[in-house]
Amino acid sequence: MKINRQALIGSALGLLVVQGALSQNFIFPLWKKNYSTDKPNIGAGLAPDQLLVALAGFREMIAGILWVRADSFFDSGNYDAILPVIRLVTMLDPKQIDVYATGMWHIAYNFTDEESRSDRRYIPTALALGGEGARQNPETYELFFETGWLWYHKIDDDFGKAVKWWEQAQQRKDILPARQNILAMAYQRNGEIEKGLNMYYSQLDRANEVMKAQTDFGARQQRDTTENNIDTMLVRMSQRGLMGPMSGTTNMGVNYDTQPPFDVGFSAQVTVIQPRVIRVRCTWNVRPVGTRIRMVLRDADYPNAVAGGMNWDFSNDVQLDPPRDKTFMQDQLFVRNQRVERKIDMSRDPTMYPFTAERYIVEFYYNPRSAPPHIQDKFGWNGEGFTDKNFINKTVRPGQTVMYTSLELTRDQILKLGDWRDRTPLIQTKNFRESDKFRRDQESIKIPGLRTAPVNPGDQRTQPLR
Amino acid sequence: MGAAIETKKLTKSYKTPKGSVNVVDGIDLHVEEGEIFGFLGPNGAGKTTTIKILLGIIYQTAGEAFVLDKEVGDTAIHHLISYLPEKPYYYDHMTGMEILKFYASLFGIKDDAKCQALLEKVNLAGDGHKTISQYSKGMQQRIGLAQSLLNDPKLLFLDEPTGGLDPIAHIEIRDLILKFREEGKTVFISSHELSDVERICDRVAIINKGKIERQGRLEDLLAGGRYEITADVSEEFAKKIQENDTTVSWKAGRLLVDMPDSISPNAIIEGIVAAKGSVLSLIPRRKRLEDLFVETVRNVGVNKP
């Protein structure tokens, strides 16, 4: 029984065609849906050897080991070493939800200079990581929530994005009731008051449903919290003059707290007191404590920069290496006694402040949407009760009234080089005037608090609220 | 009675970087049925290659080869032949019995009694349950012989069957091979253990550098023995007996004659007696296979690279 070579060669070729067709037309499309962990963009920015290790099986194990290693970097504060590890781990095992969550939190919050000024160059990376994590783990709400949180709390500006992410988180089955409350908050901050209120009401309905089935502490607490939130919100709405228009009636001539708009009277001055050390002074005519004016110092040509911020989600790619030769620093200037005086020392963080370009921009930005409730009561959710004689701006954030202005600094000024070697660079807004307020540094602020008030025995009103 | 093996201008060549090398170079073999045939040659002469061609394990480059009147390569003849390779290794985790059963299954035979009988035949009846790793070399060779007998072959190829064995094992194997002849089997032995071949083979072929140098009946090939005569005679007599193909030497009254056995030694003996000499010894020296072998291989010498 000799073998028939021609027949065998023929059958081998036939099988080759069959397997190819099977593999290409049936298995590969299914494989892509079910088992592919490597989405097109993930490979970018990884060395080939890392890729090889990543894909040769053992992903989860190696990811675990790497994550342990990253932990030691966290401990030692070696942040630069962590970024590639986070990237590699999430690539190896895109199901490591905690690594995504911790990683993006870490990139967004911990990449700062010595005085915790935020290095905003990394925010898009953190966002992209969150987005990728959410795409890889669509079955859980967690990374949708985490990404939303980054928009809500860290970026603290474009609340529509936070709403978008949290609405997606809302669709996942595993979302915790307590995590849903925050979507109502995001609606409010985004100016979608009715949606926020409806959200609370549907929360309350659900909490009551749960209460019927189980009356444990958690269920009761969720219902109480929701009720409380609704109460608070209704009060705020009426205070800010929204109840009338929303219920189809008028405010009956009462302007409530938001009218007329309040002029914050912003002005600013930036002085370079030493190379890489600047002093910022601002005025702000708001008495209550709680204002933080956003200040940005960045390269004039920083990619994707917009007024007071950046196109944060300009790319879905997780960029391991954001522009290293540029600066995008953001600081929150805390207003005390209607003024700001702040020294910013950039001399010790050359990686965050390389100062290689010629021109820099210092931006000042205030958005009432980020304001704490007691200030928002005056300014309104969209800045209805807010104005500034010089720097009111209704274009940089459509639909909102914000304060925005910018000043320019040159490299020579910041570094005190060339013409500025012996002179003190000083730039300021036209309306800036020296005020004696700046000299009264010793003035103390009394922050009203229930607990610090003297307690008279028998006086119920001074007891902490329950 | 037909020929068990018949080859015509059988050639096997391999391509090397320097060109084609004929490992087997146009050999004509003829092995009769029922005989023990010795296939002799130094290492690398082409013995194993020839056997592999005859077994159909490799294919000849040119020429023809017939085994039991069928052209080689036909696996039908595998039912009728068997092969014991040189220093074979058997799966040493298996017992002797398992080995036999395994090889039997390759013939489609499932006959435990037969396997047991074969174990007895090769004197391993008591060792069938031991694994091959516990066997001595001789035992391994015997189990090899046993497996080669599973199909009751008409023709056996044995490659160095006694190689590396101790004298007792030699004898045992030799006796087994002789038994095969009694059973009417044809045995084709490839070996350079000349003493064994000389004792058991009917016919031999000597191969060197791929060519058959001698082939024929052992008796014919070894024909041409010699006599050696030692006598005390005078020098004059010694000079008188010079003849063809006779070596004569005389020293200090002692004569040494070395002559072919085709000539009768009587004339010389009578001459010595007549010359008042005394015959000390007359030794017939039979020609040994070793002599023939060395002679054949030497004569060919280093002719071609």
């Binding site: 593999s23 095992d93 | 298996m94 090889y103």
Partner: protein
């Protein structure tokens, strides 16, 4: 068929006694058994990492065994001359080769099966999980792994008909790695707008020809139970079918080469 089975069973007997393979197997098993103790590595769920780790160990161990087993199979027979005692029997070369292959596959199956049993025991003990319906899905990983290794074994067998074992180890490992890596890479290439058409076509041809080992790596949903699968059954059936077709190609090629080979 009887001949093939005979050769196969002898091959199994030999394979399960190969010390190299047993050592590899033992190390693999050791990893599986101590895996629960390695849970310091967990970033999230113990269970996730445990499954990922143990399935990974089984896969690597099986791949090593598959290569070490198959690569030496035929060359050893030739070197020890056992092949002559077999081929001079009424055994066709293809029968010998197929028998050897089936033996290798059976041995692999036994070893993977053994590791799977140990995995299940380890898992149920360390996770206190004794519900068979929850344990059963775990078997899918090693099962597909078995088909993957059968394919790898066929690759190694095919190469073993014409290259030396040492070269074969690298060759087969290389093909295995490439076959595992290429699908994701191919996907990236094809879906990337910046890659030109010629490269894409080239990638497509390679993806068509290369044995696609990535198909058999199905541990993702086992490790991450939340993952929704599309048409799981169809995927398993087509993938196993693919394994058969591809093994067929390799065996036929191996037979064609081996039949012409001087041994």
């Amino acid at each position: 068929m009887k001949i093939i089975l005979s050769i196969a069973s002898t091959t199994v007997g030999e394979a399960v006694r190969r010390k190299v393979l047993l050592v590899i197997l033992l190390i693999g098993l050791l990893f599986v058994v101590v895996a629960p103790a390695l849970n310091i590595l967990t970033a999230r769920q113990e269970r996730t990492v445990l499954i990922g780790l143990t399935l990974g160990v089984i896969q690597l161990t099986a791949a090593l065994i598959a290569i070490m087993l198959t690569v030496y199979m035929v060359p050893n027979e030739i070197e020890r001359r056992t092949i002559y005692t077999i081929l001079c029997k009424p055994v066709q070369r293809w029968q010998f080769l197929v028998g050897k292959y089936l033996g290798a596959v059976a041995a692999l199956g036994m070893m993977i099966g053994f590791m799977t049993i140990v995995l299940l025991i380890t898992f149920s003990v360390s996770q206190r999980e004794f519900d068979p319906t929850k344990l059963a899905p775990l078997v899918k990983g090693p099962l597909m792994n078995f088909f993957q290794m059968s394919l790898l074994s066929a690759v190694a067998l095919m190469f073993s008909t014409f290259v030396s074992p040492l070269v074969n180890i690298f060759l087969s490992s290389g093909i295995y790695m490439l076959g595992t890596l290429f699908s994701p890479l191919f996907q990236t290439l094809v879906e990337s707008p910046s890659v030109n058409t010629v490269t894409k076509l080239f990638a497509r041809i390679i993806h068509w020809i290369l044995p696609n080992f990535a198909n058999f790596n199905v541990q993702n949903p086992l490790i991450n139970p939340g993952q929704q699968l599309v048409n799981e059954q169809l995927y398993y059936i087509t993938t196993i079918g693919y394994a058969f077709f591809y093994i067929g190609i390799l065996l036929v090629t191996a037979v064609l080469i081996f039949d012409q080979r001087e041994v």
